[in-house]
C-alpha cells in the first residue's frame, strides 16, 4: 500500500492523537504511564518520518514538493490544508522526529510532577514543529507557528527551574508573539493583494514581480516576515529572550527552543516570497550573522553558568547559519541547511549532558564542578565528543556545515565579504576556547565543591540510549555528508545566485532566476497567476533582474 500521499498527515496526527490520549489518562503519583506513552508516540512518529527518507524521489524536478496532500479547508478566504516536503524540509521533519524520543528519555527522571501536563504540552509542541516544516499554505503555517509559541511558553512557565521562570516565559512570549501578530497582518495584506495563501503560488508571483506594484509596501511586508523569523532564530541582537528561556526551559523542550523553526521559515517563506528584498538586505544579515558568531562565542567565554554558556553558544551557532544562508551561494545555503541539522543534534546532546549533570549534582554553576573525569569516564567521553563536534572538528558533523558556510560567505556578493568571513571564522578560535574551558572546569583538575560532596554516577543504560544515537550521527554526518546533501543541494542550487568562475583572480556573480516552482499548481491557482501576470489584478513592479 502506498502511504506517500497521507504520510505527512499521519506524522502530524500521531503526536496530536497521542497528546489527546495522554490528556485523558489519569495521572498517578510516581507512575511512568505518561513517560511510556509519550515515548511510544514519539518513536512511532519518528519511524513514520523515516518513510520520507526512504521514499524521497531525488530525480524529481527542482522546486517541486513531494508527499503532497491538499484538502480544501475554508472556501473564503481561500485556505487549504496543503502539506508537502522538499529536499529542505524533509530532513527537518526527520530531525524533529528523532529529537522527540530523545527528549522524552531526557525527561524520564527530570520530570516527576505534573507529568501529564508536561507530555501533553511536549507533544503539542512536536505537532507545531512538524506542522511548520510541512505546511505549504500560509494560513495553515501560521496556525502551527502560533501553536509552537504557546506550549513552549507554558512549559517554561510551569516547568522552569528557578523562581525566574515566569519572567522568562513572559519574555519569551512577548518577544515571539508581538512579531507574530505583525506577521499575521503581513500575511493578510499579502492575501488582499494576491488572493491566495498558497506558498508555491506566492513564490511564482514573487518571481514574476506580480505581488504588488508598491515596492515600499512589499518591503514593509517582507520586514514583518523577517523580524518575526529573526526573533525566533534568534538573530543578533534580537536574542534578548534566549538566555533566560534557555536557563528555565527543561531539557526536552530546550532542544527545540532556538534555531530550526525560525531558520526554516526564513529559507522557505522569506526567501520564497521575497527573493529580491532578501538579497537587498543580505549584507545587513551577513554582518549580523558574523557579529553574532563572535559575540555569542565571546560572551559564552566568560560565563560561569553552564546553561548560559550553552545559550550563547547556541546564539553563536545559529549565527553561523544566518551568515551562510544570506550569502546566497550554493555552499552557504547548503552548508547552512546542513548546519541546522547539525546544530540541533549537537545542541541536543549538549543540553542532555548538562541535564544529566544537573540531575546528579543539582547545579549549573561550573565553579562547583571539577575532576569528574576520574568519576565518570563515559560521561567525559560523551562531553568531549559533543564539544569536538560543536567546535567543528573535521570528520565530525559540525565541520562540514561550518566549512561550507564560511567558504560560501567569502563568495557572497556583498561589500567586503572577506571582513565578514574573517569575523565569522574567529568563531573557530573562541568556540574552542569556551568549550575546552568548560570541559576543563567540569572534568579536569581537582574535585570541586559539589563534585566532591555528591557521589554521582556514570551514565546509565537509558542515558547511553539518549546519547549514542547522537554521537553516532556526529561521526556519520561528518563523514558521509553527501547522503544528506544531495537533497539539500536541490534546494540550495535553486535558491542561490549563480557563481561563475572565470580565470583565477577574477570572480563574477550573476543573479539566478529566482525560485520558481510551477509544478503542482491547481488550474484555479494558475488562473490567478495568469490574471496577475496579464495585469488584471495588479501590474508587476519592475525590478532589475540583470547582473547586480
Amino acid at each position: 500500500m502506498n502511504f506517500d500521499h497521507i504520510i505527512l498527515t499521519i506524522i502530524l496526527l500521531a503526536p496530536l492523537v497521542g497528546a489527546l490520549i495522554l490528556a485523558v489518562i489519569p495521572e498517578r503519583e510516581g507512575a511512568k504511564t505518561h513517560h511510556i506513552g509519550a515515548l511510544v508516540v514519539t518513536l512511532f512518529t519518528f519511524l513514520c518520518t523515516l518513510h520520507l527518507a526512504a521514499h524521497f524521489n531525488y530525480a524529481s524536478a527542482p522546486g517541486t514538493f513531494q508527499f503532497e496532500q491538499t484538502v480544501p479547508w475554508i472556501a473564503s478566504p481561500h485556505i487549504n490544508y496543503h502539506v508537502g516536503v522538499d529536499g529542505l524540509s524533509m530532513w527537518l521533519v526527520i530531525l524533529a522526529g528523532i529529537l522527540a524520543p530523545i527528549g522524552v528519555l531526557a525527561s524520564w527522571n527530570a520530570i516527576k510532577v505534573r507529568t501529564k501536563l508536561f507530555f501533553v504540552l511536549f507533544l503539542l509542541q512536536q505537532v507545531a514543529m512538524l506542522g511548520i516544516f510541512m505546511a505549504l499554505d500560509l494560513f495553515l503555517y501560521y496556525g502551527f507557528w502560533e501553536l509552537s509559541i504557546v506550549p513552549m511558553a507554558l512549559l517554561i512557565a510551569t516547568f522552569g527551574r528557578t523562581e525566574n521562570r515566569r519572567r522568562a516565559a513572559i519574555k519569551f512570549f512577548l518577544y515571539t508573539f508581538i512579531p507574530s501578530a505583525i506577521l499575521l497582518a503581513a500575511m493578510i495584506w499579502l492575501y488582499t493583494k494576491t488572493g491566495t495563501f498558497d506558498l508555491p503560488m506566492l513564490q511564482q508571483l514573487a518571481a514574476s514581480h506580480s505581488i504588488s506594484d508598491s515596492s515600499a509596501a512589499l518591503w514593509l511586508c517582507s520586514l514583518a516576515f523577517l523580524v518575526a523569523f529573526a526573533v525566533k532564530v534568534p538573530v543578533f541582537p534580537l536574542h534578548g529572550w534566549l538566555s533566560d528561556a534557555v536557563q528555565e526551559t527543561p531539557t526536552a523542550a530546550v532542544m527545540v527552543l532556538a534555531g530550526k523553526l525560525g531558520l526554516y521559515s526564513i529559507l522557505r517563506f522569506y526567501f520564497g516570497i521575497f527573493p529580491e528584498q532578501a538579497r537587498h538586505i543580505a549584507p545587513l544579515l551577513i554582518a549580523l550573522g558574523a557579529i553574532g558568531i563572535a559575540y555569542g562565542a565571546l560572551v559564552a567565554l566568560v560565563q560561569t553558568d553552564l546553561k548560559k554558556l550553552a545559550a550563547f553558544s547556541t546564539l553563536s551557532h545559529v549565527s553561523f547559519i544566518v551568515l551562510g544562508i544570506f550569502s546566497f551561494t550554493v555552499a552557504g545555503l547548503d552548508g547552512g541547511v546542513y548546519q541546522i541539522l547539525n546544530e540541533s543534534l549537537i545542541g541536543a546532546a549538549l543540553f542532555v549532558l548538562l541535564g544529566l549533570l544537573y540531575e546528579r549534582y543539582g547545579t549549573y554553576d561550573m565553579r562547583d564542578y571539577g575532576g569528574l573525569a576520574g568519576k565518570h569516564p563515559w560521561m567525559v567521553t560523551m562531553f568531549v565528543v559533543t564539544s569536538l563536534a560543536a567546535v567543528g572538528l573535521p570528520m565530525l558533523s559540525g565541520f562540514v556545515g561550518e566549512f561550507l558556510i564560511l567558504s560560501g560567505s567569502l563568495q557572497a556578493y556583498i561589500p567586503h565579504p572577506m571582513v565578514w568571513t574573517a569575523i565569522g571564522t574567529t568563531g573557530v578560535i573562541f568556540s574552542a576556547a569556551y568549550m575546552l574551558s568548560m570541559i576543563q572546569k567540569l572534568f579536569y583538575g581537582d574535585l570541586g565543591l559539589r563534585s566532591e560532596e555528591v557521589v554521582g554516577w556514570d551514565l546509565k543504560p537509558r542515558e547511553h540510549l539518549e546519547l549514542w544515537p547522537l554521537a553516532v550521527l556526529f561521526l556519520v554526518m561528518g563523514v558521509f555528508s553527501p547522503f544528506w546533501m544531495k537533497s539539500i543541494d536541490m534546494y540550495g542550487t535553486l535558491t542561490a545566485d549563480k557563481l561563475i568562475h572565470f580565470e583565477p583572480g577574477s570572480i563574477k556573480h550573476i543573479e539566478t532566476e529566482t525560485y520558481t516552482p510551477t509544478a503542482n499548481l491547481t488550474s484555479q491557482q494558475l488562473d490567478v497567476v495568469s490574471d496577475l501576470q496579464s495585469g488584471k489584478i495588479a501590474p508587476a513592479s519592475v525590478a532589475s533582474k540583470e547582473v547586480r
Binding site: E146, I170, K171, F173, L174, A181, I182, L184, A185, A186, I188, W189, S214, A217, L220, P237, G240, S243, Y295, L298, V299, L301, V330, A331, D334, G335, G371, A373, P377, L393, P394, M395, F403, L404, L406, S407, L410, Q411, M418, T421, A422, T425, T426, V428, I429, A432, L436, Q440, Y444, G445, D446, S481, P482, M485, D489, G492, T493, L499, P504, G505
Partner: protein, 678 residues
C-alpha cells in the same frame, strides 16, 4: 602495486584506536600493547614496501587513490583522496618508523601508569591523523589531519588531566593552534574562491599554467603561513609548545618533536608551487624562521628543566626548517626535518630514560654524574647531542649545513644577515646542548639516593598520581617543587624495551645525514635527487654544482662554531662549574629576561587575553547584553505591563483572550498598512 593499500596506512592505526579505545579498559596491558604495536608496525611495513616499489626507476612518480565524495555541493566537491610521491614517502617513513620506535619505548616507559590503554589509544589516534595529513591530496583532507593531530596532541598533553598545569597546557595548545587554523581556513576559502577546488593537483596546475605572481597568491600564502606558525610553533604562536611538555615524554618525542610540529614545514613544502609565486610570502617565511631559530635558542640556554631545554631547542630547529623553506631550499628543509626527527626523538627519549632513572626528576640542577650509572642512555644521548650540535659526520651537521649554505646563496639582500643569525644560533644550540650534556651526565651527583628498594616507577607521572592524591605522595611533590633534592630510588638503567629504540635512533642520528652528503664533500646528495621530481620537476638539480665553491668554507665555519659552543659549555659547566651562575649574577637583567622567556606569555596575557576577557565580560556581556539587548526586552515588557493581566490570562491558557489579543494586534497593523494607502 595495488594502490588500495594506501587506504590501509592510516586506517590500521585507527582500528587500533577503536579497539583500545573501546575495549582497552578491560584488556590486560599486554593485549593493549600488542594491539597498539601491531597496528603501528603494519603501516610501517606497507610504507617500506611502497618505498621499495617507488625507488625503482620504472615506477611512477606518484600514486593516487580516491573515494566517493566527502563533501559535495553543486560547484564544489572534495573526496577522500590520498597521493604518495617522493616527499610523502620520506615523511611517511619518518612518521611510521620513528612512530613505531616510540610506541615500543612507550610500552616500557608507561608500563606502570594508570590509563595505559587510554595512552595507547590516543597514540594510535595520533598516528591515524598524522598519516592522513601526510597522505592527503587536497588542502581539506590535509586540514583534517591537521586538526586531528591537534586533537590527539590536546588529549595527550592533558593525559595527566588531574594536574591543572597539564589540563591548561592541553587547552592552550589546542586554542593557539586554532588561531593558526583560522588562517588556514581563510586560505582555503580564498583558494576555493579563486580556483574552485582544493585538490593539490588542480590548484597547482592552475597556478603553473598562468603567469600570476603576488596579489591574492600572496594573501593565500601568508594565511597558510599563519596556519604553519601555529602547528609548527613559529613566532608568534610558538608559546604552546614549551607548555606541551606537560605530556608524557614519549608524546613529547613523537608529537612535539619528530612528527606533528613539522606539519607546517611539510605544508609549505607541499605548496611550494604557490610559495614560489610569492617572493614576499617566502621572505616572511624566511624571516619568521630565522627569528624562531634564534629567540628560543637564547631561552633554552637558561632553562633547568631537561625537557624544557629540548622543547625550546625543538622550536629553534623548526625555525631552521622554516628558514630553509623561506629561502626556497625546500629539500634542505625536509632533509633537516628528517634528521631532526631522528636526533630529537632520540634526545627526548633519552631524557625520558634519565627521568625514568631518577624516578620522575626533570630538574638538571639535581642531576649530574649519571654517565656511569646509566651508560646506555648516556652514549645514546651523546650521539643525539653531537648530531644536533652539528658535529660532523653526525646527521644534524649535513642538514643544518645545507640550510645555512642555501640561506647564504639566497637571492635577497637579507641573505647574509639570515645566514649570520643561523650561524649564531648554531653556536647557541651547541652551547645549550652541551650544557645539558655536562649538567646531566658529568660532575658530582646532586641527587639523593634512597636505595634500590622502591618500586622503580613512580616516575613519569610525577603528575598524575602524585599531584592528584592528597595522601603520602604530597611530600614528594613538595620536595620536588622546592628543587632541593630529588629522590632517586636507586638510579637504574632503563629496560631493554626502552633502550633498544634509543640505540636504533642513535645509529640513525649518526648515519641519517649520509644520504645528503653534498657534492663538495664528495657525496652525491642523493636526498635532493630523490626529492627532485617534487621540487624541481623541470630543472636539473646538477646546475647548482657550479656555485658550490663556497661550501667548504662555510662548512668549516659552522664546525668551528659548534666546537666553540662545546668549549664554552665545557668551561662553564665542567671545568669551572660556578661560571654560569656568576655570569648570570653579573648580567642579572639579561638573565632574568631569558629566564622569564622574554615575558612573552605574560605580554600575550596582558595585551590580548586579558583585554579580550574584559571586553567580553564588561562591554559585551555587561553593556551590550544586559544594557542594550536585555534592556530593550525589559522596556518591551515594561510598556506592555498594562496588558500584563491579559498576558497572564493567556498563559493560563484562556484561549478567548488569546485570540482577542491576537486579533487586536493584527487589526491594528492592518489598519496602519491599509490606511496608509500603499
Amino acid at each position: 602495486m595495488n594502490t588500495n593499500l594506501l587506504w590501509l596506512i592510516p586506517t590500521l592505526p585507527f582500528a587500533g584506536f577503536l579497539l583500545n579505545g573501546t575495549l582497552g579498559r578491560r584488556l590486560p596491558r599486554a593485549a593493549v600493547t600488542a594491539i597498539a604495536l601491531l597496528f603501528t608496525v603494519l603501516p610501517a611495513l606497507i610504507v617500506a614496501q611502497l618505498w621499495m616499489y617507488m625507488k625503482s626507476a620504472s615506477a611512477p612518480l606518484s600514486l593516487s587513490v580516491a573515494s566517493k565524495p566527502w563533501i559535495a555541493v553543486t560547484g564544489f566537491q572534495v573526496n577522500f583522496a590520498f597521493t604518495v610521491d617522493h616527499l610523502t614517502l620520506i615523511i611517511l617513513a619518518v612518521v611510521t618508523g620513528v612512530g613505531f620506535l616510540i610506541h615500543i619505548y612507550s610500552a616500557g616507559y608507561m608500563a606502570h601508569e594508570e590509563g595505559y590503554w587510554r595512552f595507547f589509544a590516543y597514540l594510535n589516534l595520533f598516528m591515524f591523523f598524522m598519516l592522513v595529513l601526510v597522505l592527503s591530496s587536497s588542502f581539506l583532507l590535509l586540514f583534517v589531519g591537521w586538526e586531528g593531530v591537534g586533537l590527539a596532541s590536546y588529549l595527550l598533553i592533558g593525559f595527566y588531566f588531574k594536574r591543572d598545569s597539564a589540563a591548561n597546557a592541553g587547552k592552550k595548545a589546542f586554542v593557539v593552534n586554532r588561531i593558526g587554523d583560522f588562517g588556514f581556513l581563510l586560505a582555503m576559502f580564498l583558494i576555493i574562491q579563486h580556483f574552485g577546488s582544493l585538490n593539490f593537483t588542480d590548484v597547482f596546475a592552475k597556478i603553473s599554467a598562468t603567469p600570476m605572481t603576488g596579489g591574492f597568491l600572496t594573501a593565500i600564502a601568508l594565511l597558510l603561513v599563519v596556519g604553519a606558525t601555529g602547528k609548527s610553533a613559529q613566532i608568534p604562536l610558538y608559546i604552546w609548545l614549551p607548555d606541551a611538555m606537560e605530556g608524557p615524554t614519549p608524546v613529547s618525542a613523537l608529537i612535539h618533536a619528530a612528527t606533528m610540529v613539522t606539519a607546517g614545514i611539510y605544508m609549505v613544502a607541499r605548496c611550494h608551487t604557490l610559495f614560489d609565486r610569492s617572493p614576499y610570502a617566502l621572505g616572511v617565511v624566511a624571516i619568521i624562521g630565522a627569528a624562531t631559530a634564534l629567540m628560543p635558542a637564547t631561552i633554552g640556554m637558561v632553562q633547568h628543566d631537561i625537557k624544557r631545554v629540548l622543547a625550546y631547542s625543538t622550536v629553534s630547529q623548526l625555525g631552521y626548517m622554516f628558514m630553509a623553506c623561506g629561502v626556497g631550499a625546500y629539500g634542505a628543509g625536509i632533509f633537516h626535518l628528517m634528521t631532526h626527527a631522528f636526533f630529537k626523538a632520540l634526545l627526548f627519549l633519552s631524557a625520558g630514560s634519565v627521568i625514568h632513572a631518577l624516578s620522575g626528576e626533570q630538574d638538571m640542577r639535581v642531576m649530574g654524574g649519571l654517565r656511569k650509572r646509566i651508560p646506555i642512555t648516556f652514549w645514546c644521548m651523546t650521539m643525539g647531542v653531537f648530531a644536533i650540535a652539528g658535529i660532523p659526520p653526525f646527521a644534524g651537521f649535513f642538514s643544518k649545513d645545507e640550510i645555512l649554505y642555501q640561506t647564504y646563496l639566497w637571492d635577497n639582500p637579507l641573505s647574509k644577515l639570515l645566514w649570520a643569525v643561523g650561524l649564531f644560533t648554531a653556536f647557541l644550540t651547541s652551547f645549550y646542548m652541551f650544557r645539558l650534556w655536562f649538567k646531566t651526565f658529568f660532575g658530582a651527583p646532586r641527587f639523593e639516593e634512597h636505595g634500590p628498594t622502591h618500586a622503580p616507577d613512580l616516575h613519569a607521572a610525577h603528575g598524575a598520581a602524585v599531584h592528584a592524591s592528597k595522601s603520602s605522595t604530597l611530600t614528594l611533590e613538595a620536595e620536588h617543587d622546592s628543587g632541593q633534592a630529588a629522590h632517586a630510588h636507586g638510579v637504574h638503567e632503563s629496560p631493554l624495551v626502552m633502550t633498544l629504540p634509543l640505540m636504533i635512533l642513535a645509529v640513525l642520528s649518526i648515519i641519517g645525514g649520509w644520504v645528503g652528503v653534498p657534492l663538495a664533500f664528495g657525496g652525491h646528495n642523493e636526498f635532493e635527487h630523490f626529492l627532485g621530481p617534487v621540487f624541481n620537476p623541470t630543472e636539473h638539480v646538477a646546475e647548482h654544482v657550479v656555485t658550490r665553491s663556497a661550501e667548504p668554507v662555510l662548512a668549516a665555519m659552522s664546525v668551528l662554531t659548534a666546537a666553540l659552543g662545546f668549549f664554552v659549555a665545557y668551561f662553564f659547566y665542567y671545568k669551572k662549574p660556578g661560571t654560569g651562575a656568576a655570569l648570570a649574577k653579573k648580567f642579572a637583567p639579561v638573565y632574568s629576561l631569558l629566564d622569564h622567556k622574554y615575558w612573552v606569555d605574560e605580554i600575550y596575557g596582558l595585551v590580548i587575553v586579558a583585554p579580550l576577557l574584559m571586553v567580553s565580560r564588561f562591554v559585551l556581556g555587561g553593556l551590550v547584553e544586559a544594557g542594550l539587548v536585555q534592556g530593550t526586552g525589559a522596556t518591551l515588557a515594561g510598556t506592555t505591563r498594562g496588558a500584563g493581566s491579559l498576558v497572564r490570562r493567556m498563559q493560563s491558557g484562556n484561549i478567548r483572550s488569546y485570540a482577542g489579543w491576537l486579533a487586536l494586534g493584527a487589526a491594528a497593523v492592518i489598519a496602519v498598512v491599509l490606511f496608509a494607502h500603499y
